[in-house]
Homo-oligomer: 130 residues x 2
DNA sequence: ATAGGTGCAAAGCATTTGCAGCAGC
DNA sequence: GCTGCTGCAAATGCTTTGCACCTAT
């Protein structure tokens, strides 16, 4: 019983993780890959997928599936807010909602759930597109 | 200017719509197809996809993308509730949240957004899996 | 009769997997 | 040096599209 298998630290892994830290919102594996390439880091798409998967299993990032069916990742952050998105032009408004967070906690507690996380999105038509 | 193009009523379309009315929760196109077949209705998978798309554009059904990346549909219902899902065993608890609905309306109004809809999911560990 | 609907087969995408070579430790 | 990591190419799975035939109106 030596040390548990542990993860090996590699350039690619570090690059993916570092990139995620630059954003507060969700990014798809393909976007991450694209961004890394565009800044000279040579990382295979497969590796990006695997790194993101590893990170999510380690609880380092949150995972979601967006409307296009893409899996998107975001580094876990305490200060997490939500978005109001225009279905027509894509305009996004950041909204703060202490209400939601506390409501989530309350509901989860009532049902005995632990380590909960949530996703919450509102889509509609913005003033300009109405 | 006669009647607008209008939709043609067909057996397949009706079957898909009828099936959706039997469920209150989300079903994938493939599930709908499978179910229709299993009860003798002969409908092509392509048609199921197209019917569901048409229904969603007509605002008759809600659309979502689940964790597996499948697009799922549900007939619009006034009484729309949310779920608390166990990340481990998949146990699902239905939760009613007038709080959320009203909060959504308020936020949307403040920003001038109209015809808004929202998705809201909470995942965590249920008592049994903690 | 005619425009829209249907369904098969093929194409498109995002993601996963097989496998040989590479690199932390 | 051993084991895990990488990345290409091929495979998978859901969804869309091309196209010829069919059918509600």
């Amino acid at each position: 019983m030596t040390q548990p298998p542990a993860q090996r630290q590699t350039r690619q892994r570090a690059a993916v993780q570092a990139l995620l830290n630059e954003f507060v919102d969700f990014r798809s594996a393909q976007q991450v890959h694209e961004l890394l390439r565009s800044r000279g880091e040579s990382v295979g798409l497969t590796t990006v997928y695997r790194s993101l998967q590893a990170l999510s299993e380690a609880g380092e990032v949150d995972v979601r599936v967006n409307d296009e069916g893409e899996t998107v990742y975001r580094k876990c952050s305490e200060h997490h807010h939500h978005h109001l998105v225009c279905r027509e032009c894509g305009t996004t408004v950041e909204i703060a909602g202490p209400t939601v967070e506390s409501w989530v906690d309350r509901v989860a507690t009532v049902h005995g759930f632990t380590s909960v996380s949530h996703t919450f999105d509102i889509v509609g038509l913005c003033p300009a597109c109405s």
